[in-house]
């Protein structure tokens, strides 16, 4: 009996993982092609903007890594938003590192001592807590500030709660009594990537964690989370300001009036 429940769970988790990944990839691809379908008829760079591509890349890199534009306004929002995104990126890096190091060790390419792994694990826990705290700070701003509360709707709270729960389940797994069997988790994930079915580690926090991540992947392309992709196409940021020197061509009007 217990084995069959485990099998059902296996099927459910694997389907959720694969379906969400497919939805994510197709969704993002659809959104990018939908954006690219509409052209930029005119140069609408938001000035002061450099007239060279190098300057444009520098500005966008500033916006991408330091949130320069955001920092011109609300400092509280900027600091918490930046911490949230940076810690999220670091945590994702740790996940990748975990899998790669596991593979490398299995193939006898490298050997990482348990002390170093333990140290990295502690660092990851601390960063995870910082991530959760920054999310709480953002949530407080959203609900307490009367301006934000006015335009914040169900889905805005839903997404922030979803990410919050992913963070919480992730950090809980770092507590030894709630921790799943780590090698089993790693072999399960490698199995998922290489299409070799492995049993799902039976741990509440782990299963909730990947289920929530799957939901996040599904909603990502169709909600405001698409800002992560759309940013790179923003015409006010990615167009050099050189319309006097270089003639920008409007693809739906190439007749210049002569």
């Amino acid at each position: 009996m217990q084995i069959s429940v485990h099998m059902l769970l296996n099927v459910a988790v694997y389907s959720l993982l694969y379906i969400s990944t497919v939805v994510f990839i197709i969704g993002v691809w659809y959104q990018i092609s939908d954006i690219l379908k509409s052209p930029n008829p005119l140069v609408i760079s938001q000035n002061p903007q450099s007239d060279k591509m190098s300057g444009v890349i520098r500005r966008m890199a500033g916006d991408l890594f330091l949130f320069t534009s955001l920092s011109k306004g609300d400092r509280y929002l900027w600091i918490n938003g930046l911490i949230m995104h940076v810690t999220l990126a670091i945590l994702m890096g740790f996940h990748l590192f975990g899998l790669v190091s596991y593979l490398a060790e299995r193939g006898n390419y490298i050997h990482i001592s348990p002390e170093i792994m333990g140290f990295l694990s502690t660092i990851a826990s601390i960063i995870g807590v910082i991530f959760i705290v920054s999310l709480i700070m953002l949530m407080i701003k959203r609900s307490n500030d009367e301006k934000s509360a006015y335009y914040t709707k169900f889905f805005d709270y839903f997404i922030i709660l979803l990410i919050f729960m992913i963070g919480v389940t992730g950090v809980f797994m770092k507590i030894s009594s709630f921790s799943p069997d780590l090698p089993a988790v790693k072999s399960f994930m490698i199995g998922a990537f290489t299409f070799h079915s492995k049993p799902v580690p039976l741990n509440m926090f782990f299963i909730t964690h990947i289920a929530l991540v799957s939901i996040l992947l599904i909603v990502f392309p169709f909600t405001k989370l698409i800002h992560a992709v759309g940013f790179f196409f923003s015409p006010t940021r990615n167009m050099p300001n050189n319309p006097r020197e270089v003639r920008h061509i409007n693809v739906w009007d190439t007749n210049n009036g002569d």
Binding site: S38, L70, D145, F155, F222, G230, T236, N250, G257
Partner: protein, 516 residues
């Protein structure tokens, strides 16, 4: 009742009077007050002939407006990546919320840029995305979508005409979302179903049919310029010419038509004439392209904007000039410098040695640097000027390098005045506040809205006025100048406290002695 009669009754303004707040010199973020600015709307255009010229429905709201609305919206999304992308990617961080001068002046939450965009975003989500199309009508609030309704149209007509398309919100947006692009698309959608705002579109019509805002004939234009020449001669004792339609001149000067009528703008025209006279460079105005103003910019109606703009370049070709210089006007310069080359270029009959078009401030500062102009700074000693950057120049276009649009006018002010004081750094340069009347918000019926929009700028001005004795707002935009002359008296100041950069040039330039 026909949909048109119903909507026209709903669009009547309920607010026509507004007392500006007391000026404290401090820009405070107001507490949210729902509906504070919901009572004022601009007049709807009803002149059938003008509507026909513009290519819009002539009998008010069309009967099948929902169909037309969605068709036009789909067209806007297909033509403008900006509109589609900006509707998709807003993450509602709220950084823009307290950056709009209309929100700061009114506290109406619909004037937060994010809420203004949401008016269109809700429709986009409902009719153009999976989640909206899946959603049942009862879930609009949950999904943050909206059905098309007359009430929604009223909100659109109210709040998309409380945006001056100044792009200040875009500076602070982490993704560069520009509410102006959304506003322009929304206005064109409203136009396509027959709800055409009157004042700005009368001007578009006039520009298409006569080439200028004031419907003046070429003869009237010559007359006006002659009287300005007479005044100049009387003032200076020197025969300073303002040539019209002079073939083979070096420079075609393009001005907004306010420069021929409003006294505060004529002062700048005098300045240009004196600069050309002193530098000995031959120039001309064109009676065919007397007006560079282009109100087609303020709605996403590319064809009208292009048509209006083409006059300038036809005139430059016909007159055989080598270069085109734009006068002091914000949106005119944006269309000429950022859009012209795409719409009507390339301009291979003009000399490639100069930027096409050049800005008059670029031109004047270059002459100053080369020592061709000399000034008696003491002539401006009664003034302590400050610089009000104009939004369409500060954030929409540029001249003289990346920060030229900020540095060049300031350099001219410093060359012509002994004193100069900057306003608070959050209110100048790229973070400058709109005067409150840009973006086609020029009707007097919108006075309450314009007063609210001007409040942040007035507070910043009050601060330097009290602390540093500033008594003059300098601007390089015809609309800022006209707006301030109208609104300053409402705030208890005099209308003489505003003028162009070239008014300072005009008052202090030493004429007659050739320095080259």
């Amino acid at each position: 009742m026909k949909p048109n009669e119903k909507i026209m009754a709903m669009l009547k303004s309920t607010e026509t009077q507004f007392t500006p707040p007391e000026l404290t010199g401090e820009i405070k973020i107001p507490s949210v007050c729902v509906g504070a600015s919901s009572g004022n709307r601009p007049f709807v255009m009803t002149n059938k002939e003008q509507l026909k010229t513009l290519g819009y429905p002539t009998n008010g709201l069309v009967d099948n407006w929902k169909e037309v609305f969605l068709k036009k919206m789909a067209e806007m999304l297909d033509k403008y990546r900006s509109v589609k992308l900006f509707l998709k990617i807003c993450s509602k961080c709220g950084n823009c919320a307290d950056k709009c001068h209309f929100f700061l002046g009114s506290g109406d939450p619909m004037n937060m840029p994010v809420a203004r965009q949401d008016l269109m975003r809700k429709v986009y989500k409902r009719y153009f995305t999976f989640s909206g199309m899946l959603g049942l009508p009862g879930f609009n609030n949950l999904l943050d979508t909206a059905e098309l309704s007359e009430e929604l149209l009223v909100l659109w007509y109210t709040y998309f005409y409380q945006c001056t398309e100044c792009r200040r919100c875009s500076v602070f947006c982490p993704y560069g979302i520009d509410t102006a692009e959304i506003t322009m698309a929304a206005r064109e959608i409203l136009n396509s179903i027959g709800l055409v705002q009157k004042n700005a579109h009368v001007l578009v019509n006039n520009e298409i049919t006569t080439g200028n805002n004031f419907r003046m004939s070429p003869l009237a234009f010559v007359d006006i310029i002659e009287s300005i020449e007479d005044d100049l001669r009387e003032e200076t004792g020197i025969d300073i010419k303002i040539p019209i339609d002079k073939h083979g001149a070096d420079v075609l000067m393009v001005l907004p038509s306010a420069d021929y009528f409003a006294p505060v703008n004529i002062e700048s025209l005098n300045g240009y004439a004196k600069v050309f006279h002193q530098a000995g460079i031959s120039w001309t105005l064109s009676s065919y392209a007397a007006d560079g103003a282009n109100f087609g910019l303020f709605v996403h109606n590319y064809e009208n904007m292009k048509l209006i703009n083409s006059r300038i370049w036809k005139a430059s070709r016909e007159l055989g000039v080598k270069r085109v210089i734009a006068g002091e006007c914000g949106h005119m310069y944006r269309v000429m410098s950022s859009y012209s080359n795409t719409m009507n270029g390339p301009f291979d009959w003009l000399s490639p040695k100069y930027p096409i078009p050049q800005h008059i401030c670029e031109f004047t500062l270059d002459l100053i640097k080369r020592g061709a102009l000399k000034f008696d700074k003491t002539a401006n000693d009664h003034l302590t000027p400050t610089m009000h950057d104009s939004c369409q120049i500060a954030r929409g276009s540029a001249f003289g390098g990346k920060f030229g649009q900020f540095e060049i006018p300031r350099a001219i002010i410093r060359a012509t005045c002994n004193k100069f004081v900057e306003m608070d750094e959050d209110t100048i340069r790229e973070k400058t506040f709109c005067c409150g009347a840009g973006g086609g918000l020029l009707g007097d019926e919108q006075l309450p809205v314009k007063l609210r929009g001007a409040t942040p700028r007035m507070q910043a001005y009050t601060k330097v006025k009290r602390e540093n004795g500033v008594n003059f707002i300098t601007s390089i935009c015809a609309y800022c100048k006209v707006q301030f002359t109208h609104l300053l008296p409402h705030f208890g100041y005099t209308e003489e406290e505003v003028g162009g950069v070239h008014k300072l040039v005009s008052d202090s330039i030493i004429l007659g002695v050739k320095n080259i």
